[in-house]
């Protein structure tokens, strides 16, 4: 098992190295002059040369990459071209909004997705199952931003037009300032995120449960006379845990790296919104920083998932 984990760890490093090489060289071959972005349009040629020297852009690409990696390992991701602030600070400031969105979203989508999957599998072939499958189909087909805009229209704008405020249009309020206000501002983003994502979980749960429910050990459990609820949640659900955790790990990691679309629709100032702004401003250090951070989250999530496997499934040890 130690060997297996070492392999995974090695692979994680490989992912991060490839990712860093990809973004770094991407920006090296990119057209456009970063010095121009830093200095603005009115800068003279001498100023540009000076800036290139300060940023180290005049050195060979390999040297630049080496210094980027060694700095990154010390927690220094460089400075924004636009306002000269440390990239790490800029990202850290955005993390609370993204994390709040993801945590709440995960809770809501699990609370919707798993029961629907269970209901569908327990009543396979009946009307309830078809209802569950319709939910899955629509959820899988609904583009997030369409759902977000529709819910903003129906749950924010229409009530406001009628003279009362049901939900705010978006924006992020810090949890510590006022937890209630925080939650109220996040209800719409949470449900939007959860509705489209829960379909994946409902389908996964349903598929796994259908396979498991025919097994002998389930019949044994039923024969023992325990309640159907216990059969499902204590015995059968156990088998669905592995694929659910794989999916959950991947989803959480992707979203922490920037739930770009939701943040964009609801005006949440999270990591994803930062990345979109950085693209608009051609602010390369920030883009590199966010991509690397996203990669780091994915790699960490993969390792946590691997560890959880060994905890959940004794055969893996």
């Amino acid at each position: 098992m130690i060997r297996y984990l070492m392999q995974r760890l090695l692979f994680a490093c490989l992912v991060l190295v490839s990712l860093s090489v990809f973004v770094f060289f991407l920006f090296f071959v990119a057209p456009g002059d970063p010095a121009r972005v830093v200095a603005g349009d009115k800068a003279t040629e001498a100023q540009l040369v000076q800036i290139r020297e300060n940023l180290g852009l005049d050195r060979p690409i390999v040297v630049q990459y080496g210094s980027f990696v060694s700095k990154a390992l010390h927690g220094d991701l460089g400075y924004s071209y636009r306002n000269q602030q440390p990239v790490l600070d800029l990202i850290t400031r955005r993390i609370p909004a993204t994390v709040s969105l993801v945590i709440g979203g995960v809770i809501v989508w699990l609370a919707i997705g798993i029961p629907i999957g269970v209901m569908s599998a327990r009543n396979a072939g009946t009307r309830k199952d078809r209802l569950g499958q319709t939910f899955i189909l629509i959820g899988l087909s609904f583009p997030t931003f369409v759902l977000g805009m529709l819910s903003l229209y129906c749950l924010y704008f229409l009530p406001r037009k009628a003279g009362f405020m049901l939900f705010p249009a978006g924006g992020y309020k810090p949890f510590l300032d006022n937890p209630l206000d925080w939650a109220w501002h996040l209800v719409l983003p949470w449900t939007t995120l959860a509705l489209v994502t829960s379909a994946i979980y409902a389908r996964l749960t349903r598929g796994q449960l259908l396979q498991v429910l025919g097994e002998d050990y389930i019949r044994t459990a039923r024969a023992k006379g325990i309640s159907e609820r216990k059969v499902i949640y204590k015995h059968a659900m156990r088998a669905t845990l592995t694929p659910l955790i794989t999916q959950l790990g991947a989803d959480i990691a992707f979203l922490l790296g920037g739930s770009i679309v939701i943040e964009q629709v609801y005006g949440l100032q999270g990591v994803g919104a930062l990345a979109v702004q950085a693209v608009a401003n051609q602010d390369r250090p920030i883009i590199i920083g966010v991509v690397m951070l996203g990669g780091l989250f994915i790699v960490i999530a993969n390792i946590i998932v691997d560890l959880l496997y060994t905890l959940l499934d004794p055969r893996m040890r």
Partner: protein, 340 residues
């Protein structure tokens, strides 16, 4: 569908007589019968055909309404206050914030969505099939290397990388397709790899080998035909995710460059300055177009899987007789999309 379609029997065999009505049906015929008995699938097919016609005849729509997709009708399409006019006899689906006809733009947007969806799905299918087959057939270090590459691509934050790519090369149709293909071939690759690996161990491959067939001949003549079901099903399922991926890129301003009409771009325009709050038609029509298209392709993919591979469909309900089912095959690989 009932079980009868999967076990066709002549109806008159019940009363003991062997009847002349017993007919042998080809696999194609059986599949067609299953398809024709699935109303959801048929509706989806009809919708997709209509959508394709709508896209192909977009210039006709423009001609018929007399509105060019990119022309701004500031006199007729906008109110004196500069707000877009809603659906009326001249602008059937309303006008947008620049006074352009939403219906005409929707038709031209359908071209982009369908073209990107189908092209990207075909290209990623081609790559996925090739790599998956090589990986599954040869095994050993080839499999390890290719498998690792697939893992690597799957561990990349794709939307962020798309952002980085677009920020460097600027948004364009080609880049959108490239990005979508690069991040979606792995799903197909994994499925084909697993199927090929299990097919390779079968006797008929051994027979082929003992007859002197080389690896390329085995792969193309023996293995590929046996992969047709997953290929058809997964390629179909990649179309809706590519459509959503493209719309998402355009929505974020990273896809199709304005003023070319695309559904994602139309929604982005509607979202900018929250114009859609005063002009609901700007979000409802493109939103519905996008949702129904992805829904139709998803239903098509599901229906095709049920029709082509009836094995995976047999769910024994504990109470009543079997009705529509499916969704049995749950993929273990994480899936998600640009959606998030």
């Amino acid at each position: 569908m009932t079980n009868q379609t999967t076990h066709p029997k002549a109806p008159s065999a019940d009363n003991g007589k062997i009847s002349e009505q017993v007919v042998q049906r080809s696999s194609f015929e059986l599949t067609m019968r299953r398809i024709l008995k699935d109303p959801a699938l048929l509706t989806a097919v009809v919708f997709i055909v209509l959508l394709t016609l709508f896209a192909v005849f977009a210039p006709l729509v423009a001609y018929w309404t007399g509105h060019d997709p990119n022309t701004q009708f500031r006199e007729t399409g906008m109110s004196p206050f500069g707000l877009p006019v809603g659906p009326n006899h001249e602008f059937l689906l309303g006008a947008d914030q620049l006074g352009r006809d939403v219906l005409v733009r929707l038709a031209y947007g359908a071209r982009i969505s369908l073209a990107v969806g189908v092209l990207a799905a075909l290209a990623s299918a081609l790559i996925g099939i090739t790599i998956g087959m090589i990986s599954g057939f040869f095994g050993g270090w080839v499999d390890v290397v290719l498998g690792r590459i697939m893992d690597l691509v799957m561990s990349v934050p794709f939307l962020l990388c798309a952002l980085a790519l677009v920020s460097v090369f600027g948004p364009s149709l080609g880049l959108s397709i490239g990005v979508i293909v690069f991040f979606s071939w792995t799903t197909m690759g994994r499925v084909i790899r697993a199927e090929t690996a299990s097919l390779t161990k079968r006797e008929f491959i051994e027979a082929s080998r003992s007859l002197g067939a080389g690896p390329i001949s085995i792969l193309i003549r023996d293995i590929l035909p046996n992969l047709s079901v997953p290929i058809i099903v997964y390629t179909t399922m990649m179309i809706p995710s590519s459509i959503v991926f493209e719309a998402t890129l355009s929505f974020l301003g990273l896809g199709i460059t304005p003023p070319t009409a695309s559904w994602g771009g139309m929604l982005a325009d509607a979202g900018a300055n929250s114009v859609y709050l005063v002009a609901w038609w700007l979000v409802i029509f493109p939103g519905i177009a996008l949702l129904t298209s992805t829904l139709a392709f998803n239903i098509l993919g599901d229906g095709l899987r049920d029709a082509l591979d009836p094995k995976g469909r047999r769910i024994k309900p504990r109470k009543k007789k079997s009705v529509l089912s499916g969704w049995l095959t749950s993929r273990k690989t994480p899936e998600g999309g640009p959606n998030q």
